[in-house]
Amino acid sequence: VTSKVRAQHGLQLLLRVLRNRDDLAGLTPADWDALLPAAEHAKLSARLAADAEHLGLADGLPDWARDRLISSHIRGNEFERLVRWEIDRIHRALLPVGVRPVFLKGAGYLAAGLACASGRVVLDIDILVPEADLARAQAALVQHGWQFEPLDAYDERYYREWMHELPPLRHQERGVMLDLHHAILPRTGRLQPDSRILLGRTVTYGGAAVLCPTHMVLHAAVHLFYDGPPAIRDIADIDGLLRHFATAEADFWAALVRDARELGLARPAFYALRYAQRLVGTPIPTGLWTSVAGAAPAGPVAHLMDALVDASLHAGTGGVAALSSFALFVRSHWLRMPPLMLARHLVRKAVVK
């Protein structure tokens, strides 16, 4: 079996077991051999370990498969510990200067006690603060040991003038990265969700503020195609959020549609629902599609997106996948910047790299 065939098989299996966890019980050693690297690469190995443990599969597996799951599980626990500690440290820096940060993405899921946060690989912490508090937050973080990563003049300007976040900060002692946002999308982009609405409806769990359920889903949705083809981990996040909130929150779906329109994020919301259902079978109420029909792209565009997503995920490697991925990458930047700026940016990135 060549590594390319194994990689494709692994990707298919990963999507299948995300759709239906019980399918893990019927896998052969050859399946595990393909699935484990795919899950590792997708940053979902701790999730896989938790699912396998839930099904009581560990004892029946070959030692190499069991050991890798145990190793992922242990590392996943550490990510949880690390994020809780970072939340504590960030609060210690910001609360005294009157800034209450809103924890986004993985840190937010963990603070909210969501199951999909468990064992999630976290490489950086993302926080949102009001733009007016940005300078104060930055000064307080620097005073508490965070430092900006050195950047060249172009990247510095890219972040400061055009982006919705400051250049990444790294803590000098702990090494953990922190992204300080004042919005969830770039200033230069076509979509401009109003941060005041997001900040006005946050929810607090155990002292940590996070986006409200619908905003949390919408934030995950805008990032689904943010850097090219959807990452399977992002699909898994959206799936986990939707499944959780659909049962935990009254009238969740209606609120999601309403808030998506309010923030001007109906299109990304449509894509998130569509691909979560298509790729991992997220249960979406059938009635919902009529209420988001207005947000769907024109027929040919929808078909093109489907084809690009399928090709970029399914072929795994190879020319068609690379081309599809590149098309989605350009599209993601198209949404971030006006055309001329995009052209300059891509040329620069191509020349520099």
Partner: protein
């Protein structure tokens, strides 16, 4: 079946196609390569290791080959892929064998979290283990190789794999890396030592790997309990000096040299503490190999009395 039992053409076929599945202590490494240097290096340095039957999976899947970029027409290089991805930068092709060893080290450091992994040379006498936790350059591999030639069983010259549940040390015998002047020292030390060819490594040092003895590889499943901790420090011209180290400082030293004790949380800390409960710790400054080995012998016979 050990690798030495495998007919050369079978070895080559497995390396070129699905990969050779080598049992290395608690792990199965699946190595694929089309390079003659890798074939020779494995056939000699891993001669005593078992080859796993069948085409099952592995803990670590590595491929060692020249990268398929245009650069190959200008400069021959070698690239190691892990699980089909490329976590390492390519190196000059002569470094293929050291690069495979470095990649295996990286695998253990990244995916062996079932164990508390400490950067230490580890050997055993009877059922008790000697740990020499130290950063590179302290001479721990050289001392380790020298002790190995004097009847100690090799667990690893690089890793102490501590099982947090039982507090025992799991062997992972692999070729011992000797660098620079240590190569000639070891050749003079033992006529029986089998050393591979000398190549330059990434840091510009000469490196040669010493094959682990058959008995050590055969006893790969036999764990040992921590018995002694010696923190070696090579110091040119110094007479051997032994100083006791407190249990608290020893735990901190083990933590500094651990890859992942933090991942185990409280369990990790307590595992390290359990080592110092069983094993006294000393620092050893030495300049001569004979001095170092004799000092360790004295320490061991004193505490075994």
């Amino acid at each position: 079946v050990t690798l030495a039992d495998l007919p050369p053409d079978t070895l080559r076929r497995q390396l070129r196609r699905q990969g050779l599945r080598l049992r290395i202590g608690p792990f199965v490494a699946r190595v694929a390569s089309s390079m003659a240097a890798i074939e020779t290096s494995l056939a000699t340095l891993y001669a005593h290791h078992d080859v796993e039957p069948g085409q099952d999976g592995a803990h670590f899947t590595l491929r060692v080959d020249p990268p398929r970029t245009l650069r190959r027409f200008v400069r021959r290089q070698v690239q190691v892929t892990f699980d089909g991805h490329e976590p390492f930068l390519p190196l000059p092709w002569q470094m293929a064998a050291p690069m495979l060893e470095a990649a295996l080290n990286w695998c253990v450091g990244s995916f062996a979290h079932r164990f508390v992994v400490i950067h230490a040379a580890t050997l055993a006498l009877g059922g008790r283990a000697l740990l020499m936790p130290a950063p590179p350059g302290s001479g721990k591999s050289t001392l380790c190789a020298a002790l190995m030639c004097r009847g100690w069983r090799l667990l690893s010259d690089e890793f102490a794999l501590l099982d947090p549940a039982s507090g025992t040390l799991q062997p992972i015998p692999r070729p011992v890396a000797l660098k620079g002047p240590s190569i000639a020292l070891l050749r003079a030390w033992s006529a029986d030592a089998w050393l591979g060819p000398e190549v330059d490594n990434n840091e510009g040092e000469r490196v040669s790997y010493m094959r682990p003895p058959l008995e050590s590889v055969r006893a790969s499943a036999t764990r040992a309990v921590p018995g002694w901790i010696v923190i070696p420090k090579f110091e040119a011209g110094a007479p051997p000096i032994v100083e006791a180290m407190s249990r608290a400082r020893t735990v901190m030293h083990l933590a500094d040299n651990s890859f992942n004790y933090n991942l185990h949380g409280r369990n990790g800390f307590e595992s390290l503490a359990s080592i110092v409960d069983r094993a006294p710790c000393v620092t050893l400054r030495y300049s001569g190999l004979e001095d170092g080995v004799q000092t360790i012998d004295r320490l061991v016979s004193k505490s075994s009395r």
